[in-house]
């Protein structure tokens, strides 16, 4: 056993740290968030150039042979800077699913250009009623000649407006909430019959509501097997969860550091407020929480490619529970210890708090994953 980073991984960490330092000073981030796309093409190009878009894929798929640890390393730094480029929907989710079950033709047409920074993706799974049940899908795909016709609605699809292709989880058979009968389709972002309502999110990302009105796709748009998408989507979401956990770890480190600095310098009653024991202990709990979050993220990153699906699912859910708990504690504590300043838009603290809050809500809250974990653990 060895839990230390290799020299290459250390270099990757340094490079990601440098990227965040150079591009994501807080006021800079505010400017990036206000641009039309909400992220910067030049940053995306740089990520491609640095090899980050391909690092976690196998060499035979055009990648550089890394894996979840590499993803963890960059995501953690992205969390520190609250990076806005759509790495998660494009690389982790979209790229991940194409690499997992895509045909050779799909890998060539989609994955290779994605690695070069020339294509972005979004993953449309959520519907109004689905909450965190990936199988609660009612968007229908029906056979139409040799291809398919998609009709229905998808919600809160991150990066849909920038995506060249949207990967859509659709029902091709079975009844509501049945795991069998789901199929993934690759749909062009500008397909006929697909309409979007775009909006910013609480944490300055971009998402959309999508309406599919008889969107026609060919047989080659099917990603993986017809009716067999559930486990593919589940694994993709688990990988995304682990990546999010790494991002959250970065957020917690940054917000803890900012709070520590604040309580050392803010004076009331003639002393730095960090002299008050209630704040000292709360700060200690913040650091302990961040340590636990880091540990669970590492555990999950190491287990997320295990052969046993139960091990993978438990790893993702366990980490998500920890991140939900720790993220809430660190975020709320940071705001509280900043006093009035904590609830303003002006300081970065509230922005880390918002991101940590949204991470808890994404792909299942603490409560959802506690239930999932307990079902998996007690069954085994």
């Amino acid at each position: 056993m060895d839990l230390s980073l290799s020299d290459e991984q250390k270099q990757l960490q340094d490079a990601a740290e440098r990227f965040v330092r150079d591009k994501y000073a807080f006021e800079n981030r505010r400017k990036i968030a206000a641009t039309e796309k909400g992220w910067l093409p030049e940053n995306w190009a740089q990520m491609a150039e640095l090899g980050w878009l391909g690092m976690s894929f196998k060499e035979e798929d055009g990648g550089y042979g890394g894996g979840p640890i590499e993803t963890m390393i960059v995501m953690e730094q992205f969390g520190k800077g609250l990076v806005l480029e759509p790495f998660l929907p494009t690389v982790v989710l979209g790229g991940g699913m194409i690499a997992a079950v895509g045909s050779a033709a799909q890998k060539e047409a989609l994955l290779a250009p994605m690695i070069e920074g020339k294509k972005q993706f979004a993953f449309a799974w959520l519907e109004r009623q689905s909450r965190y049940n990936l199988a609660d899908v009612s968007l229908k795909a029906t056979k139409e000649g040799s291809g398919w016709s998609l009709s229905g609605h998808k919600g809160v699809v991150y990066n849909a407006a920038s995506a060249d292709q949207i990967i859509v989880l659709a029902r091709t058979a079975g009844s509501a909430r049945e795991e069998k009968g789901l199929t993934l389709f690759v749909v062009d972002g500008n397909a006929k019959g697909l309409s979007r309502r775009d909006y910013p999110t609480q944490d300055s990302l971009r998402a959309s509501e999508l309406t599919f009105d008889k969107v026609s796709v060919g047989a080659d748009a099917v990603l993986g097997t017809v009716d067999g998408a559930f486990p593919v989507a589940e694994d993709a979401v688990d990988r995304a969860i682990v990546a999010l956990c790494a991002e959250a770890t970065g957020c917690m480190d940054a917000v803890n550091a900012a709070t520590l600095e604040y309580i050392k310098t803010r004076k009331q009653f003639g002393v730095p407020i960090g002299k008050f024991q209630v704040l000292q202990h709360r700060m200690v709990d913040c650091f302990t929480n961040a340590q636990e979050a880091r540990s669970m993220t590492l555990m999950a990153s190491l287990k997320i490619e295990d052969k046993d699906p139960v091990v993978r699912h438990k790893a993702a859910s366990g980490a998500k529970v920890q991140i939900g708990k720790s993220g809430k504690f660190c975020g709320q504590s940071a705001v509280q210890m900043h006093g009035g300043m904590g609830v303003t838009d002006e300081l970065s603290v509230s922005h880390y708090f918002k991101r940590l809050t949204m991470i808890d809500l994404m792909f299942g809250t603490q409560q959802h994953h506690l239930t999932r974990y307990s079902n998996l653990a007690m069954a085994a």
Partner: protein, 398 residues
Amino acid sequence: MDLAFTAEEQKFADEVRAFVKANLPADVRDKVKNGKHLGRDDYMRWQQALGKKGWLVYTWPKKYGGPGFTPAQRYIFENVCAEEYAPGIIPFGTKMVGPVIYTFGSEEQKQKYLPAIRESTVWWCQGYSEPGSGSDLASLRTKAEKQGDHYIVNGSKTWNTMGHWADWIFCLVRTDSKAKPQEGISFLLIDMKTPGITVKPIIMADGGHEVNEVFFDNVKVPVANLVGKENEGWTCAKFLLANERLGIAAVPQSKRGVEALKDIARAEQDNGKPLIENPGFAEKIADLEIQVTALEFTELRVLSQMAQGGQPGPEVSGLKIRGSEIQQRITELTMEAVGEYAAPYLPGLLWHGSNEEPVGPEYAHLAAPRYFNTRKTTIYGGSNEIQKGIISKMVLGL
């Protein structure tokens, strides 16, 4: 001891309900019901209706134009108003400066200021905190120097809630910089239209504008606007803070919040069933409801002590702590109920009254901003850490 209302109290409850139904403007009710933000005029219309009835200053004694409610009537009034979706009464005039003026003010001041507070024709705001003086309020530095029959005020206040809507501000100012911090402070009433006052917005984490910085640059304030004696403003300040903390518990609003949360949990789907049927989530709501009940009965006990005569004591700090935490918990669970649909941020709909369609149900886009915003309740009115300090010192003798 009897928990049930007497026939007379029941009659009073019916009277309040009928009044609210007849006088609360429908659009204001609708906004409160749907958790939307209210404008100055929304508050004013409702408060003026209450003012006409003589109920706006429902905590005041008869002597100063209040209705002289018993604790039971007060409880009924607050609860019925909340149940009928009336907006919360803005406390700056009615619960803060008004009682200070009738307790410490001169006869002329009572004549001049109290009617406008009772009728809600003047909007007051609170000028206590400064950038360097939050928890340590007594360290405040905004200076007032006497020149003839005026004070010349210089300095800045911050976190001024709704100061951009205010006609008047009550301020703590330093009139003696050599005395001990608490002994050189005075309580001044200042017309916001006085030359030299600048109000600058502070944008909150939810994107909204509710607080401000207020700058004073050689602002001339008549000496007649001093309440109580010069350098004895700290007495007024403390008296006011105790009143402020009582209001902060917001029990009726929290009861309404729990009901609204249940409605959302009934409307939201979870595995094809209403979310409220999810045992884990239902238990969280149950736990919250128990917390609200404990708070409600604590407040009832405090009210009943006050009915025996006497001001709210340090036990009021406990109400503020729990009340604020419960308000936060309600917003937290509401956001959790909404799930991923809490993510869309729709500033037009949220802040500018645009008529764009919400994303998902109307309540969804309000959930996260409300959660972010409500973090303030454990910070303002004396942070919860400060409240705990007060209880440990005053109640437990530590």
